[in-house]
Each structure stands twice: as C-alpha cells, then as structure tokens.
Symmetry: C7
C-alpha cells in the first residue's frame, strides 16, 4: 500500500491535486489497484511477442470470459492488470480507433500508435477534477512494419517499451525471474516455457494459464489448451 504519512492527510482525497512534495496521490492509489490485479507477463522473442495471463478455472465460469488478454487488431494484443471493467472500455476505444486508422490510411495501425491512444486517455483522466484515473495497466504487444513491440501503459498515462515485463500482483517476483532468464532472440518454445514458469511462480491458486502469441506470420493467436499441454 502507498505509504501515507499523517501530514499529507487531505491531499489524497481530492482528484487532480498535487501534494506538497509534487505527488498525485489519486494516481498512486490507482496504481495500487493495478498491484492488486492478477499478474500478466509479456515476452519479446525471435518471431514476435508473447503475452501470458490467467483465466479462472472454475467449473461454473466460462473461462474465456475471464481472459485478460484482448485482441485490438489482428496484429496487436493487450493484456491488463487491475480494474478489468476499465480495461474493457479502453480496449474497445483502441479497437475502434484501430479500425478507423485502417480505413483512413489503408494500412494497419502501429503498436506505438495504439499505446498512445490508450496512454493519452489515461493521462487526461488524471488532469481533470471531474474524473478519476483509470485503475488499470496494460501490456500492449504488437508486430508491425517497425518490428515487435511490448509497451506498458500505466494509470498516469506513462508508456515504456520492454523486451520482457510483468505487471500486477506478481510483478516483483516475475520481473526478477525475467531479468535472470530472458535472452535476446529466444525461440517461441523457450519463450512460452519461460512465460509459463514465471506465471506459475506468481499465481499459485487454481487458474488456467492463458497465452497469446503475436507474430508476423500468425498475427494474433491464442494458444489452445492442447497446444499448451504439448509445450509443457
């Protein structure tokens, strides 16, 4: 939880106000919502980008409806940690803008373009007194004419590009493992194995692992459970 000293009381209860030391508490609290969200991992490998997340394995829930990896366009995916209702609405807006881009310019939108669309929406929500920040972070994964990209977007609207990265409640553990084990130009199989290994260390309860590959060849591809079992 964000450290909260008594002398700051009050600065953190109003939207869009700085504290005396230049912090935006509401944005920091929104980041806490991300830290409470389920872990998601992104890995850039030789042929593209890999996103790993979980879905609930309850017999009663249709597990696809708890997937946290979304298709934005057929060459761009995004996984979310935090408030998933916020995620869904932002993803939908990115989808619409991607389609408009395709129709207007007759070429697919860039991954960085999509990241900007999401990041700008999130930054704006931290600026106006009448809105709360979005309580979600994304890993946007895409393969376009500029190559493979894995871009993080957080509640402040910041955008960072990573070679591998994890967000959500298991991020600290996940990123430590990724730092040790990630290598440039990994092949697909190794990348998937690494993704599964990391996720299993972070999310120990009964959940299915959900993997999406974005490659220049297959575009957006959700790996079926059989394929997944073969990898393992």
């Amino acid at each position: 939880m964000v450290e909260q000293m008594p002398e700051y009381m009050g600065y953190d209860r109003t939207i869009a106000v700085f504290s005396p030391d230049g912090r935006l508490f509401q944005v920091e609290y929104a980041k806490e919502a991300v830290k409470r969200g389920s872990t998601t991992v992104g890995i850039v490998f030789k042929d593209g980008v890999l996103l790993v997340s979980t879905k609930l394995a309850s017999g009663m829930m249709v597990s696809s409806s708890s997937e946290k990896i979304f298709e934005i366009d057929n060459h761009i995916a995004a996984s979310a940690s935090g408030l998933l209702a916020d995620a869904r609405v932002l993803i939908n807006q990115a989808r619409v803008k991607s389609q408009i881009h395709k129709i207007t310019y007759e070429e697919p939108i860039d991954t960085w373009n999509v990241a900007h669309i999401i990041g700008d929406k999130m930054q704006i929500s931290t600026l106006y007194a009448g809105l709360r920040p979005y309580g979600v972070s994304f890993l946007v994964a895409g393969v376009d004419s500029t190559g493979s990209h894995l871009i993080e977007s957080d509640p402040s609207g910041m955008l960072y590009e990573w070679k591998c990265y994890s967000i959500g409640r298991g991020a600290q553990i996940a990123n430590k493992i990724l730092k040790q084990k990630w290598k440039n130009n990994m092949d697909k199989k190794t990348a998937i194995s690494l993704g599964i290994e990391v996720m299993k260390k972070c999310e120990k309860d009964r959940k299915q692992i959900d993997i999406v590959l974005v490659t220049s060849k297959n575009k957006f591809k959700r790996i079926s459970e059989e394929e997944l079992r073969k990898v393992k």
Copy 2:
C-alpha cells in the same frame, strides 16, 4: 456490509475517488445494494438458458409488475438484483439499442453485444464525479448464432460469462448448490427443477417463483404457473 476501517474514513464519501489501497468504495457500496436485492439464478442447459427469480405474491400487487426478469429482445432476457429502478432504465436502453441493431444490420443482436451495452453504461458511471454507480447487477441470458450465453454484469461494469450463476442476497447459498449439482447438457426439466430447488433454499418467504426460458426454439418464454406446477 463492506468492511470499513476507521483509517479509510472520507475515501468512501466522494464519488469516483480511489482509497490508498486502490479500491473504489462507492462501487463496493453499490455492490452492497446488489447483495441486499432478491436472489436470481441463471442456468445454461441443453437447449438454452434458464433464469429464475421471484415475484411478490401479495394479493394486492399485480405480481407481473414485481417480475425481475425482463425481455430485451425475443432471444435475450435479463434478470436483475439490486435497485430495480436502475435496472429498468438500463434494460430500456438495451432494448432500444437492440432494436436499432436489428434495423441497422438486419440481424438480431448478440448476447455479448447486449452485455457490453449494459456493462459500458455501468463502467462510465463509476468514472465521473457527477454520477453515482448503478446499484444493480444483471444476469443476461441469450441464445444466438454463437450459442447459449449467461453473462453477469456488476456495478463496476465487469462482465463474466457463466454456465450457471446466482446474484443477490441468496447468492452464496445458491452458488454452493449450483456448483454441486449443475451438469453439462442438462435437459430442460432437470434445469427447471434445479432452479426451483435453489430458489426455495434462498428465498423462504411467501413469494412466487418466476421462470424465463430462452431457447433457440421458443425464444423468450415465461413459464406459466400451471406449467410450473406440472414441473414441480
């Protein structure tokens, strides 16, 4: 009731503000309104989806006006727990959009489409300082070209698809029973019996049971009291 620690006082009285640990109290309180609402149950079976709810059996009230299962289109129904005035307004908006969809695309709207319409309205209401969240959850049940669907929409705007699920004040008991007894590909009669059994365990006072079936064959069908008596 939502657990409320004294050190959080204040974070929960303003709309659309995060608490230091990343929670939106107003959304959690709106979920309390759902937990105080009457129980409703949804069950996917072989031929479609079943919604079970209650209506008041007072001699003075016209019982149909206390029905909590609404027809959205002739292949999609929704049952609500929580503030029913909120429910009515959201249902009406979904109805209008479904009709517009039918006219625009010359084909019926998908169940997930309807769920998105409702969920997006609910998410938006958690984002702006000038609105309160909607104090209602829905089970949206539909049969369309993609099959049978039972989708939950809650005050945060989250959408989950279930094979069987219950919301409202009896949800805890109901979901325990459903978990034990629900089976894939149940026939209609067994599904109705299960729905009635669950509802009787949750809502013990003098109320009539209200059942709606959505099947590819009969579309939206409210079971009459005679039919219901036969099943029992």
Copy 3:
C-alpha cells in the same frame, strides 16, 4: 423518520452517494416527504380504476386548486402524495408526452407508458450529483386496450402495479383495510364506498373527499359533490 445511525453521518448529506450498506439516503429521505404527504388511495374495480384523495375545505381556498388527482389524458389519471410542486411539473411533462404519443401514433398512450415516463424522470434525478430526487409518489390509474391499471411510482423511480393501494401519511392504515376488504370485480358503488371508508379513517380533519373514476365508458370523471352525497 428514516432510522439514522450515528456511524452513517455524512453519507446522507450529499446527493447520489451510496452508504456502506448500499443505501441511497437522499432517496430514502425523499420517500419521507411522501410519507408526510396527504393520503391517496387507488382501487381497481369491475369497470375501471378509482382514485380517492382529499381537497382542502377552507372557505377561502378554491378547493379545486388543492386537488391532488390530475388528468393526464382522458383515459389516464394520477394522484400524488408528497411535494405537490414536484408532482405538478412531472404531471405536465407526462401530459405533453401523452399528447405527442397520440399525434405520432394516432392512438392513445398506454397507462404503463405514462408510468415509465414519470418513473424514468424520477430515476434519473437519483443518479446525478447536480439534482435532488423528486419528493413525490404517484398512483397512475388508466384504462387502455390492455385493461385497467393502477401503477405506483416512487422517488427511486420504481414502478409497481397494484389492484388496490394507498400512499401518503395514512398508507399503513389504509393498506391494512384495503387488504381485508378489497375483492376482485367489485362494482363501482362498492369500490367508491370502500375508498371513502378508507380515506375517512386516514384523514380525520376537515377536508373534502375528492374522487376520480377512470372507466372505459366515461374515461376520466371527477365525481361531483352531489353524486358523492348520493353514494354515501
């Protein structure tokens, strides 16, 4: 008066905010305004619906101006308990929309349609921070192609259909009597007698009784004092 525990202080002073247990205090307080209003009774009988209310019998006031039963269209009436200025404004809006309906569709509006118009206005006023809820409840009485209807609309925007019902300060007493004495298919005379009996038990001070009948034959008909004396 709404029970108000000290630990809830603050939740009830802002418009459109949930309390920790999921209640909207401002809506509950608006309902108190209804409970302070004068009693009104509605009774469905064989040929239509009956509304009973009071008007002031002061020699100085023109008693018709204190009537609380309004004509919305010539087949639909509504009686109000609570803030009558709020009532007047909502009734006027319903009147205008009924006329528009008639002109647009070349047939009279349904009773439920009118109830939705009023109920939706009232629900919306509970959702936005810049508005207070309406402090009034209605009994909407109408006879249309779907039969006779008596529909209650309360400050939350809820709509319930009744066979007989009472709102306002005498509602508790009135509904107890109605429950005992109301019978299906009552004739007009019995219904009027029951209405007068109930009203006399609830409103004991010097007031005139005001009765409106809505029947398929006579449409909206306010019973004159002579006719009333004959009934008694």
Copy 4:
C-alpha cells in the same frame, strides 16, 4: 423563523438536499424571506379581483417605484412579497411569455397559464444544486374567459387558488380578518374597504396603500389616490 433542531445541522446549508424527515430546508428558508416581505392582500369580488399592497411614502422616493403590484398583461396582475428583485425578474419573464402567447394563439393568456409559468420557474430552482430557490411569493390576479382567479405561487413552486388571501409579514393577521369578513359576490366598494382595513391592521408605519383592480370591464386599473380617498 423555521424551527431548527441541532441534529439537523448541515442539511440546511446545501442547495437541493432533503433532510432525514423529508424537508427541503433551503425552500423553507426562502419562505422566510417571503414572511419578512411586506404584506399583500388579494380579494375576489363580484366583478373581478382586487390586489392591495403598500408603497413607500418617503418624500424622496418616487412612490411608484416601490409598488409591489405589477401588470403582467392588461387582464392579469400580480403582487409580490419577499425579495423584490427576484419578483421583478420572474414578472418580466411572465410578461414576455404572455405576449408570445397572444401573438401565437391570437387570444389572451389564461390566469392559470401565467401562474404555471411562474410556478414552474420556481419549482425548477429548487431541484438543481447550482441554483437557489426564489425568495418571493406572488398573488396572481386575473379575469379571463374562465372567470376571476386569485392564485398564490410560493418558493416551492406550489400554486393554490384563493377567494381571498394574504401573503407577507402580516399574512397571519390579514387572513384571520379575511376569513371573518369575506363574503361571496362582494361589490367593488366593499371589497376595497375590506382590503384597506386589512392592510391598515398589518402595516402600521407610514406607507401609502396601493390598490389594483382587475375586472372584465376595466382590465388592469391602478386606483388613483383621489379615488382611494373617496372610497375611504
């Protein structure tokens, strides 16, 4: 002054919020502004309606500018008690709408129509958080095709029709006298005498009495001081 119990503190300082017992304090306080205003009296008599008010008799003030009886159309007048700046603005709006009515429908506006215009403006101002209620009450007096009317409009937007009535600081005394002495079908001279008698009991300091007659014959007619002296 409105009775104010300590446990209600806070409910009365925000616009458009209900107290736990269903009262709108800001509207009640606006009514206090009316009770502090100068007395005005209205009397329906055989040929029309009479409004009595006062104007300042200071040698320095042009007494007509302190008149509180306004002409809305040549067959409708209104007298005001309370904040006269609020009164002036509402009267002007009623004047404009009356002229528009005349031009649109080619017939003079009804007295009740004018009362609705004023009352609706006042009700709306009690509903929105960004406005204060109007601090004024009116007696609207008119003679139209439906006869003579004397209608009160108060800060809540309520409208009541009276045969005789008084508002403002002397209202309690005035209405007691009116109740004893008013008779149906009074002639003009008796009505004027009654109006003057009442006003003299209520407003004892050095002020001139201002009288306006609205009759079907003479329409709006302010009685000159000579005429007034003859009556006395």
Copy 5:
C-alpha cells in the same frame, strides 16, 4: 458591518444559499462593499437630473480616470459606489445594449430600460452558485420622453426611483441633508449648490468634486472646473 450572529456561521460562506431567517448573506456582504465605496449623490431638479461624485486630486493620477460618473447614452448617466471594476463592466454592457436599442427601434432607450438591464444582470448573479453578486450600486440618471428619472440599482438587483438620493460611505449623512433641503422644481444653480454642500460634508479629504448634469437641453454634460468655481 453586517451583524453576524455565531449561530449563522456557515450560511454566509457559500454563494446563493438562504440563512434560516431567509437572508442572502452574500448579497448583504456585497452591499457592504457599496457602503465602503465613495459617496455619490443624485438630485432631480427642474430641468433634469444632477449626479455628484468625487475624483482623486492626486497630482500623479489623471483625475478623469477616477471619475465615478459614466455616460451610458447622451441622455443617460450613471454614478457608482463600490467595486468600480464591476461598475465599469456593467456600464459597458448597458452602453452596448443602449446602442442596439437605438439602432433597432430608431429612438433612444428609456432610463428605466437601462436600469432594468443593469438590475437584471445583478439579480442573476445572486441566483447561481457559480457567480458572486456584483459589489456595486448605481444611481442611473436620465431624461427621456417620460421625464427625468433617478434610479438606484443595488447588488440584489433591486431598482428604486428617487427624487434625490445618495449611496456609498457618506449615504447616511447625505440622505439626512437631502431630506431636509431638497425641494421640488429646484433650479439648476440651487441643485448644484446642494449637491456640492452634501458632498463636502461626506467626503472631507482632498478630492475634486465631479458633477454631471443630464438635461433635455444639454443632454449629458460634465461641468468643467471653471463652471464649478463660478457656482461656488
């Protein structure tokens, strides 16, 4: 200073809220700004209206820029006490509307018309929560087809017509003298002398007296210092 009892604390810090006894504190405080403003005097005499005010006599300030008597049209002037920046903005708006009137109707605007333009702007500012009242009062002086007029407009938007009147910090003293010495049909010279006498009793520090005459003959005329010396 406005008397402020401790039990009223809070009612006076929010814009557009009534106190329990029906007062608008913000308007009363705005009137205090008027009482702190420099004295201005208006006198109706045989041929027109006279406004007297002061201007600073500092060697460094261009004294015309501290004049508080403004020309609105060539037959209408206005002097201000209180916040002069507020005055300037309102005067400009009145000027523009006067010009529009002249062009639209091909005749000069009436004095009362101008007073209404100013008064309505001031009343509106007391009604909305997002505005403060204007902290200024005016004496509007004009000669038109209806004769000579001297009209006061205060922060509440009230309009009173006077034969002679004073506003600002010296108003109490000034009005006492005016009451004793003002006579109907005074000639110009006597009126000017009275105006100067009053002003000298009220504003004792080193200031120049500024006089404007509005007559049917000379229209708006600022008396030069030589002329003034001749009068004295």
Copy 6:
C-alpha cells in the same frame, strides 16, 4: 501581507465570495502577487510615455527573455509586475484584439481600448467561482490620436490613468520619488534619468535596466544598452 483577522477565516479560501465587510479576499491576495513582483515604472513626458523595468543580468539567461515590457501594437506597450505567465497570456490576447481592431476599422486601436480589453478579462476572472483572479498588474503606455496615456490595470480589473506611476515590490519607494520629482512636459532625457534613478533605488541587486519609449515619432522603441549608457 494582507491583514487577516482570525474571525474572517474561511472567507478567503473560496474563489469569488465576499467577506462580511464586503471584501474579496482572493482579489486582495492576487494583489499580493503583484507586490512580490519586480518593480516597473511609467512616466509621461513631453513627447510620449516611458516604461522602465528590469531584466536579469545572469550570464546564462538571454536577458531579453526576462524583459517585462511588451509591445502590444507599434504605438502601445505594457509592463507587468506579478505572475509573468499570466501577463504573457493577457498581453497576447490584447495583441490579437489590437490587430483585429486595425483590420476591422482601418485605424490603430486606442490605448484606453487596450486597457479595457485587459481590465475586462481581469474583472471577469474575479466573478466566476471556477476561475482564480489574474495575479498581475500592468502599466499600459500608448500614444494615439487622443494623446499620451499611462494606464494601470490591477487584479480586480480596475483601470486608472496616471502621469507617472510605479507598481511591484518597489512601488511605495518609487511613487514617493516620482511625486517629488515628476514635472509636466519633462523632456525625454530628464524622464529617462528619472526613470533610471527611481529603478535603482527600488531594485538594488544585479539586474539590467530595461527601458521602452512610446512616442508619436518613433512609436515603440526599446532603448539599446549603448543608448542607455549615453544617457547615464
């Protein structure tokens, strides 16, 4: 610093609210920002108007970017004390409006016109609850067909014309000297010497003196450092 008595606490923390004695604290606090700003001096002399201010003499800063004297049109300049970002934005708006005036009327804008543009913007910002006052004062200097003008505009929107005047932190000292030494019809050289003398008494740290002359002959002219050295 503005004197702040404890009993006024609260009146000064909300925008656009009067205190009980009729003061607008937020405007007074904005004036404090002016008093903390660097000194600027204006002097009317025989051929035009002179503005004197300072610019930083740090080796690292490009000194022109710390100039506080701005060209509005080629015959009008303005110097600012207080929040210079506020100044820049207001100056830009005045520039645009001056250009529009020139194009529309085919003649240069008057100095007083420019002062009104700035003053009106500043007054408006004191009226609305959603804005803060501008924290800057200006000396507007211009030579037009009506002669030479030096006009002060302060945070309340007040406009005063001066023959010589100083604003900012050194204003008290500066105005004392100006009062003693300023003479009508000074020649350019004497005026510049006076300006430099005053500025040197007020701003003692290492800063360059910045002088702008506005004359009918040379229009806007910033004196170069060489010229300045010659004068000294």
Copy 7:
C-alpha cells in the same frame, strides 16, 4: 519540499486559489514534481543547441522508450523533467500545431512559437478550478531563421530563454557547473563534453546518457552510442 507554514493550511489543497501572501501553492507543488524528475541539460553552442538527458539502461527496457528528449519538428527538440505522461501529451500537441503551422504558412514554425504553445497550455491549467497544473518543465531547443534558442517552460507557464540551463533533480549542481564552464561560441565537441560531464555529476546511477543536437546543418540529430563513445 515547498516550505509550508501551519497558518497556511488549506490554501494549498484547492486548485487555483491564492494564499494570503499571493502564492499559488498548487503551482509550487507541481514544480516539486519537476524537482523530483530526472535531470536534463541544454547548451547553446556555435552551430546550434544541445540537449542532454538520460535513458534507463535496464536490460529489460527498450532504452529508447525512456528517452526524455523529443523531436517536435525536424529543427526543434524538447527535453522534459517531471511527469513524463504530462510531457508526452503536451509534446504531441506542440507537434500537431507545428505541422499545422508548416502547412498554413509554408514555412517552419519558430522555436519561440513552440514555446508559447506549450507555455500557454500550462498557464491555462493554473487558472481553472477544474484542472490541475501540469507537473513538468521543458527545455525547448531549436534553430530557426532567428538563430539558436534554448527556452525553459515551467508549470506556471513561464518562459525563459537561456544560453545553457538545467532542470530536474540535479539542476542546482548542474547550473553551478554550467555557470563556471559555459563559454560563448563553444564548438560542438566541447559542448558535448560539457553536457556529459554535467550529467555524470548529477545522475550517478546506472543510466545511459542521451544526447540530441539541433543544428542548422543536421537539424534534429540523436547521437548514436558509438558517436558518443568517440566523444568520450
């Protein structure tokens, strides 16, 4: 951290309100966000302007995505310290306006023009109650027809032009060194060496140095790591 005396409590928690001594605390707190940001340095040299900043050297992050020097047009760059999400959004707006300028006037935009675009956006955000200030400062570097420019824009919207300057957490140390070592007309190599030296003293942890040159010859040019190694 901004010095915060207890008697000022409250003035700093609302947006756009002055404190009694004329300060805008929210703007000062936004400047704290800048002081917490990473150091960036700008140096004007013989052929153009140099910006030095850092980028993260983590193996996992794509270092280009942590670059804090942005290309606005091909002859103008800007580096940012503070909230980088705010920076990105402002930079994008400047880019769009620069392109519009180029298309409209058929010539590249001036560096000062770009600085005004950014500075005005930032000033506006300090004026309205519904916005927070931007928590970022920029060094805008450009070479245009008026020469080489290095302009600072801070959260208040102030713009200053420098010959060399540093902002961010190392600014105090950096500016001390720059003051000692910067010389007019430095050649490129010396300027780069100075930039690197300064940055190494300020940002000691493992980060890569990021350098952008804007010259009339090469326009915007980011120095590759090899080139950088040669310089060192």
